[in-house]
Symmetry: C2
Subunit: 251 residues, 2 copies
């Protein structure tokens, strides 16, 4: 049985509280929150504290707060030489106070309060200072997910940048596509199956193999047609830049 | 019972042949192909012809060939005043020879030879010159798909541009994300659940509502960190341009 404390009550904290309580061999010991009312629906009140000095030792203490607050929270912990981890994708190990053994437990997924998550499919990225702590963290990771990875602070930084390209920027291209549909009275939903298939394809093909379209085919006639169709300068510039980038990759 | 002729044996033609043969109330009458050996596994040989003059009248004749060949093929047809449609997203109605009644039957999906398609979920975009022909084409569309749309040539052009943004360019951003992972020895598969969730989200939220990330949050510290992390000039330029575009949309 692994005992866990959680500090925080944001989206990630709430999802972790919920999944730990449903997981065999994991005991959620205490939750620290400055807003206990936001977790009383999830956790019995004897497990909730608003006082750092009430926190008892656990196998793992998970700090799940905003990036900027991680350091300060780790300073406040009333114990030493314990395994203390944060859940951030973009903060290094060094943000944590050195009085405890440091680690990272980073679940790589978009968490929304209103949407349930199947944790088994969520990749968990782990980092610790030594092998023994890694095996403790790995036991917790594998209890809730089928996908546990050892990822250094530097690798996590690169993952975060890659996620901006493959998720944040991708969503913005959906937005630009929707604007083009809206301006021409075409329902955006017509594109949804194609968008879904584009995301599905790269499960079995590399993105380079999966690439299609006028830029890939070097179909200059269609590219010119599209550029003269686009009136908005911002969309024109993005169209040109991404077309050139595809052509460089396939040249 | 609707009778259909198909001209062509490319990816789209093969998928249409297959689905029509499995659909009640649709009779695949003849298939014209210059390479009959590519369809003998799908169609009984008495239905295959390599000779335009052998083509008999059908309720609908579907020309499913490369964009550039549509005009010439429509010139070759041995009959007049019949409903003749093409299956292209980027070619207008006017590419078809005026001796027949023109139309478009455009299934909006990426078709790969090796992957089966659930046609019920594929949007079919229809265009005809008159209402009567539209109702014939609509009957065929609804026989194979739950999503049939009336789309003009101009709207189809805008859909094609929107699809370049939301699918072709999106796939290229997957590619750039994968390169960043590869360069840092991080398995790209870690990002797949997040990529999937990004595509799923816009089924229930608008892309504008679904937008997350440093650009959306105006998190200048993280943006600077990412830009100095990126060494490749092409990726840097794309990162800056898409970040600015997101900021404009959320400003």
């Amino acid at each position: 049985m692994i005992t866990v404390n959680i500090i925080g009550s944001g989206n990630v904290a709430l999802h972790l509280i919920s999944v730990f309580q449903q997981t065999e061999n994991v005991a959620l010991q205490q939750v620290f929150s400055r807003k206990p009312e936001s977790i009383t629906h999830l956790v019995s009140s004897d497990k909730i504290t608003t006082n750092y000095s009430d926190l008892k030792l656990a196998d793992i203490t998970i700090i799940s707060v905003t990036d900027d607050a991680i350091s300060e929270v780790s300073d406040q912990l009333p114990f030493e030489n314990q395994l203390v981890v944060h859940t951030s994708g973009s903060v290094g190990l060094d943000a944590l106070n050195a009085k405890n053994r440091k680690g990272v437990f980073y679940p790589l997924q978009t968490f929304s309060k209103s949407k349930a998550i199947d944790f088994k499919a969520v990749p968990i990225c782990l980092e610790t200072e030594n092998e023994w702590d890694y095996s403790i963290l790995e036991t917790l990771g594998k209890a809730i997910s089928d996908k546990v990875f050892k990822i250094s602070s530097e690798q996590r930084q690169s993952l975060h940048v890659a996620a901006v390209f493959s998720c944040n920027f991708v969503n913005h291209l959906y937005q630009l596509g929707k604007e083009i549909c809206d301006e021409n009275q075409v329902p955006f939903e017509i594109l949804l199956p194609l968008i879904q298939e584009t995301a599905d394809k790269i499960k079995t093909l590399s993105p380079l193999e999966a690439q299609t379209g006028p830029a890939k085919r070097n179909d200059q006639k269609t590219i010119e047609k599209h550029l003269s169709f686009l009136e908005d300068e911002n969309k024109k510039t993005i169209y040109q830049l991404l077309t050139q980038s595809i052509q460089k990759h396939n040249g």
